[in-house]
């Protein structure tokens, strides 16, 4: 029997996911394309290589930045948020 779908949040909105999906796959299935802004120019980025090579799809999951969304498996109740730059603005001086 296939386990049932579940929900997580992306920038405060509920998103549905199938068990075993990556964060990236669930976000794309829900119509989202980008979840990071680049460090230098603030440009939107999402999945590019999809297999963990390019690091374009970095995202903040449950408060921790720099997860590769294409590799991280989404879990029920995850709090996913758009990553600004290196995701460590709290450390910037």
């Amino acid at each position: 029997m296939t386990p049932p779908p579940f929900a997580f949040t992306f920038d405060g909105r509920l998103v549905r996911a199938e068990p075993g999906q990556s964060v990236a796959a669930a976000l794309i299935a829900a119509g989202h394309r980008s979840w990071r802004h680049t460090r230098a120019e603030g440009r939107p980025r999402g999945v590019f290589c999809g297999i963990g090579v390019c690091f374009d799809c970095l995202v903040t999951i449950n408060g921790t930045p720099n997860h590769r969304a294409c590799l991280a498996e989404v879990r029920p109740g995850d709090v996913v948020s758009t990553q600004e730059g290196a995701g460590r603005d709290d450390l910037a001086c």
């Binding site: 296939t2 999906q21 990556s22 796959a25 669930a26 290589c49 999809g50 498996e73």
Partner: protein, 481 residues
């Protein structure tokens, strides 16, 4: 697959196989079948690599050679090889007793010791930059394939597939069969040149039949297939809203007056493959520039690299597809088992493998000749076109590093302008940067140029915490399996 009781920290294996795609699986099964203590280490959650990427519970409806995969998967447990998924290998160190493989699993350090290593790390899509390629909605062809095969998610609704090489066909066919509108397959090359290599063609009829099958699928779904045409620009800011397609001349310069706009929300691109060669480079293995322009490890008839105890199989010693990879993997596994345990391989089995390797390699060489990447793509770029996606370095900045700062090779350009200095460490822009610098300095790219963008002493980013924790001897390493 289960984790055998033999797996505990401090175990020294005869053979560590790095990568669980076609080459690595075949290598691990062959080595374990000869009685060698074998561990198969992989970054993925399930075996199969990119070629046999699948969802949990998916039994291969979308895959070629699935029976082969199932046999290998069965062989892995039947012969008692240890299988360690979810391991990101960041460094392989040569020691007096052999090799120490340094990896992380969910951020925690994991080390594995072995007398010999078989590098089967595969390849990823090679990319050429073009205006708009950083817009969300431009994906590598492999990403679109991975989303569909690995997660059941189409990357978009109206997809243009562009680039060069036979891999574009299964990607487009898979999308069409999943009900996605494929607005066109834009093949920059003119693969009719393939007919000039009749011997290689004849030896590999099944592979050609596979290609013909994909073309049939495209025809059935009324997907246009255009040669010497590609996507030269993607439009939109937050997401792709369209693309510019152009006809190309023999050198891939845009034919004047041939550009047209197409309506699509997604672009999938790939210009061949870039092998993952971090480990052979870390170990000081001799490298060469292959016929397709990629940097690959040199291997001998036994798949041995130039460094004792290091074997390389699959794309990392020359891009040639899944079937060649599996043959090379099996050879590497047999020879490494013989070298570490003295268990001699069956001569007839070896002879058969050598014949198949020769046939597959001639086919791969013919493919490389049929799908060259001439440097006219550089004329598609504007000064402000991003080349390095991580550090946001433009084509203009790379040009200035050569013209104004006097850089003469990619390594110097990397130091002056920072292409390849970001998180991906030049994996994505390394090939393009190398070609741009070579042409700006009036020469052809060399293996040394490529090496300057491909050398990565630490193959994956890791936290200082993981580094400080050192190895995990004495720790619990029984997760997964």
């Amino acid at each position: 697959m289960t984790t055998s009781p033999a797996e505990r920290p401090g175990t020294r294996y005869d053979i560590a196989v790095l990568g669980a795609g076609p080459a690595g699986l075949a290598a691990a099964v062959a080595a374990a079948g000869q009685g060698a203590g074998t561990v198969l280490i992989d970054a993925g959650a399930r075996p199969g690599g990119q070629y046999w990427r699948h969802r949990e519970g998916d039994e291969g409806a979308l895959h070629h050679g699935w029976g082969h995969f199932r046999r290998l998967r069965r062989g892995l447990s039947a012969h008692g090889a240890d299988y360690r998924p979810g391991h990101c290998v960041w460094h392989v160190e040569r020691t007096e007793a052999g090799f120490t493989v340094h990896a992380t699993r969910e951020g925690s350090p994991r080390t594995v010791r072995a007398k010999a290593v078989i590098v089967a790390t595969g390849a990823y899509d090679r990319q050429l930059p073009f205006p708009g390629w950083t817009t969300p909605g431009v994906f590598t062809a492999g990403a679109v394939q991975a989303l569909l095969k690995g997660h059941g998610v189409p990357a978009g609704r109206r997809i243009a597939v562009a680039g060069t090489g036979p891999f574009l066909l299964p990607v487009a066919a898979g999308l069409a069969e999943a009900g996605v509108r494929v607005v066109g397959v834009f093949e920059a090359g003119l693969p009719t040149a393939f007919g000039r290599h009749p011997l290689a063609t004849l030896r590999n009829l099944p592979k050609l039949a596979e290609g013909a099958g994909y073309l049939g699928t495209l025809l059935r779904h009324r997907v246009p297939y255009r040669t010497r045409t590609t996507v030269v620009a993607a439009h939109g800011t937050a997401t792709v809203t369209g693309a510019t397609v152009a006809r190309l001349d023999q050198r891939w310069r845009i034919v004047p007056g041939s550009t047209r706009e197409i309506d699509c929300d997604t672009v999938a691109v790939g210009y061949g493959f870039t092998p993952q060669t971090e480990i052979p480079l870390q170990l000081g293995c001799a490298m060469r520039r292959d016929a397709d322009g990629s940097l690959v490890a040199r291997v001998d008839a036994r798949q041995r690299a130039s460094v004792d105890g290091v074997y390389v199989a699959g794309e990392a010693c020359g891009v040639g597809g899944a079937q060649l990879s599996a043959v090379e993997g099996e050879l590497a596994g047999l020879h490494a088992a013989y070298a570490t345990t003295g268990s001699a391989p069956d001569r007839r089995r070896l002879a058969g493998l050598l014949r198949r390797r020769a046939a597959q390699r001639s086919f791969a060489a013919a493919l490389h000749r049929a799908y060259p990447v001439p440097d006219g793509w550089q004329t598609w770029l504007e000064r402000d076109t991003t080349v390095c996606r991580c550090e946001e370095v433009t084509a203009g900045a790379i040009r200035e590093a050569v013209d104004d700062l006097g850089a003469t090779d990619p390594r110097a350009v990397k130091l002056y302008a920072r292409p390849g200095m970001g998180l991906c460490q030049g994996r994505v822009c390394g090939y393009a940067t190398t070609c741009l610098v070579a042409r700006a300095t009036g020469r052809r790219p060399t293996a040394d140029d490529l090496r300057g963008m491909a050398t990565r002493p630490i193959a994956h980013p890791l936290t200082l915490g993981a580094l400080a924790a050192g190895d995990d001897s004495g720790g619990d390493d029984s997760g997964g399996g």
